[in-house]
């Protein structure tokens, strides 16, 4: 016998946690799954030997502490059918049934290829933050942070707290964009306070606008980077380079389930109505998945989805105004941190694009779509299933990401053989 739930929530970040708590508050039997061992998603990822911020602790406790919520950590969705998801946990594979499904799978970083980006010691910006929070040694390490967006500052704060020597934060957006962004921040006092707090923690660390890392070099690992800034090229010797160009939604499961997507810039996100309903009956989506919006819109949309999935339309209606306000902040981010065309032209002919299969940019010439490139070069056929190169190629304007195929993540054979009729109806 397998488990079935009234409401099954995928992803235990701010959106999924809020959805689980809201649905359980209406008496629904809720299953909350996440591939990670801890709840909190990206922003509330726990740090080794450190208690999280109060907001995070409250958000996590409201869901995990609710008797109506079954918390299923280290559980990854690998496949789907109408009314049930195939999941894998350390014990094996099984199907989980649901009446309503809330997708809250969040976002990953947009990682763009440049010469040297495959060297050990080159990570994403949020990537370095996530690694550091789980004990990656940074004490005494010379770190360069680069890319775009407020995540660079958050990553820098975490790295410094872990003892890194920050050589600088290099933001690709120009100074005039950032000044305009900062002037509008007063309408979101929480964000303004957060920005001030981060800047105070980064006192003495150079923050340079209009600057792009063009190249990383080193023997067995990164030893230096070349930064192209308003005052020309600069070479910086370092031990680590953390570089991320913003975020893109993890739409793979939604796409497999047939939910309609819409384009947000070069990348797809899940299309929903004001009640977070997707185009598929009984399936809701919330948070970064519906377009990059950050923690606040994720929490609000999660709660809206949870109320709606449990049948409380009034609850969902009450949160519309704050949700719109939070989303407007995201629109500003998008505008002011728009990518400079320079960053789409960093890869050279021999720069590896598909890291899983070592496919260089030149091998993709002449292919009009992802499918043809995949068949000829194996680009996107490796373990990450095109999650890194697919996002990069879409951003580079080569070709858009195409369909999702099961299994969504490499899974054990025994998981794929799990009997689909063995879940119990709620």
């Amino acid at each position: 016998m397998r488990d079935g739930y009234d409401v099954l929530v995928v992803g235990a970040g701010p959106a999924g946690l809020a959805a689980a708590a809201a649905a359980a508050g209406h008496g629904a039997r809720v299953g909350l799954i996440d591939a990670q061992a801890g709840a909190g998603g990206q922003v509330w990822r726990r740090e080794v030997a450190r208690t999280g911020p109060a907001l995070a602790r409250r958000g996590i406790a409201a869901a995990l502490g609710h008797p109506g919520v079954a918390w299923l950590p280290q559980t990854q969705v690998v496949g789907a059918e109408a009314g049930a998801l195939l999941v894998e946990d350390p014990q094996g594979g099984r199907w989980l049934g649901y009446r309503a499904l809330v997708l809250a799978a969040g976002a990953r970083e947009l990682l763009l290829p440049f010469p040297g980006w495959t060297l050990p010691g080159v990570t994403g910006a949020g990537g370095l933050q996530a690694l550091a929070k789980q004990g990656w040694p940074l004490r005494g390490c010379r770190v360069v942070i680069a890319g775009s967006g407020p995540l660079l500052l958050a990553a820098a704060v975490t790295a410094r707290r872990h003892g890194a020597e920050l050589l600088g934060v290099y933001e690709q957006a120009g100074g005039e964009h950032l000044r305009r962004f900062a002037r509008g921040l007063w309408r979101w006092p929480g964000k303004a306070a957060q920005a001030a707090w981060m800047r105070a923690r980064l006192a003495g660390v150079p923050y340079r606008c209009g600057s792009v890392v063009r190249r990383a070099s080193g023997e067995a690992r990164v030893q230096a980077v070349e930064v192209d800034g308003p005052h020309g090229l600069q070479r910086i010797a370092c031990d680590l380079l953390a570089v991320g160009y913003g975020l893109l939604p993890n739409v793979e499961l939604a796409r497999l389930l047939g939910c309609a997507l819409r384009q947000s810039g070069a990348h797809p996100c899940v299309d929903t109505d004001s009640r977070q309903r997707t185009s598929v009956e009984g399936i809701y989506a919330a948070g970064e998945l519906c377009g990059i919006g950050g923690r606040d819109s994720a929490r609000l949309e999660g709660a809206i989805a949870g109320h709606a999935a449990a049948g409380d339309d009034a609850g969902a209606a009450r949160l519309q105004r704050p949700r719109r306000h939070a989303r407007r902040f995201a629109e500003r981010l998008d505008r002011h941190f728009a990518l400079d065309p320079r960053v789409r032209a960093l890869a050279e002919a021999d720069t590896v694009i598909c890291r899983c299969e070592d496919v260089p940019l030149s091998a993709l010439d002449g292919h009009a779509d992802a499918r043809s490139a995949r068949l000829a070069t194996r680009c996107g056929m490796g373990a990450c299933q095109g999650r890194i190169c697919g996002g990069a190629l879409a951003e580079l304007g080569r070709f858009p990401r195409d369909g999702s195929r099961p299994p969504l993540f490499p899974a054990r054979l025994s998981t794929l053989a799990a009997d689909p009729v063995s879940f119990r109806d709620p």
Partner: protein, 81 residues
């Protein structure tokens, strides 16, 4: 602070605080992670289970993402080194 977790990486014993990821434990020893299909060294990129650059063998299971797994007492980890 709670007691450290002991595990083995490529046969070396290592002690780390509970909650540390396998990836971080490998990095503390300064060991490389894996070789790409063309034989180049690779190490964690995304930190969140998406890129698969941190794959190692754990307790006999190949292709495990080291960034996703907290250390466990007695774990046996092998990198491509």
């Amino acid at each position: 602070m709670s007691a450290p977790v002991r595990l083995q990486i490529n046969g070396h014993g290592v002690e780390v605080p509970p909650g540390t990821s396998v990836a971080a434990a490998i990095a503390r020893l300064g060991l490389p992670f894996r070789r790409s299909v063309q034989g180049h060294w690779r190490a964690p990129l995304c930190g969140i289970g998406v890129c698969f650059e941190c794959r190692v063998r754990i307790d006999g299971l190949a292709q495990q993402r080291a960034c996703m797994l907290p250390v466990r007492e007695g774990m046996q980890v092998w990198t491509d080194a």
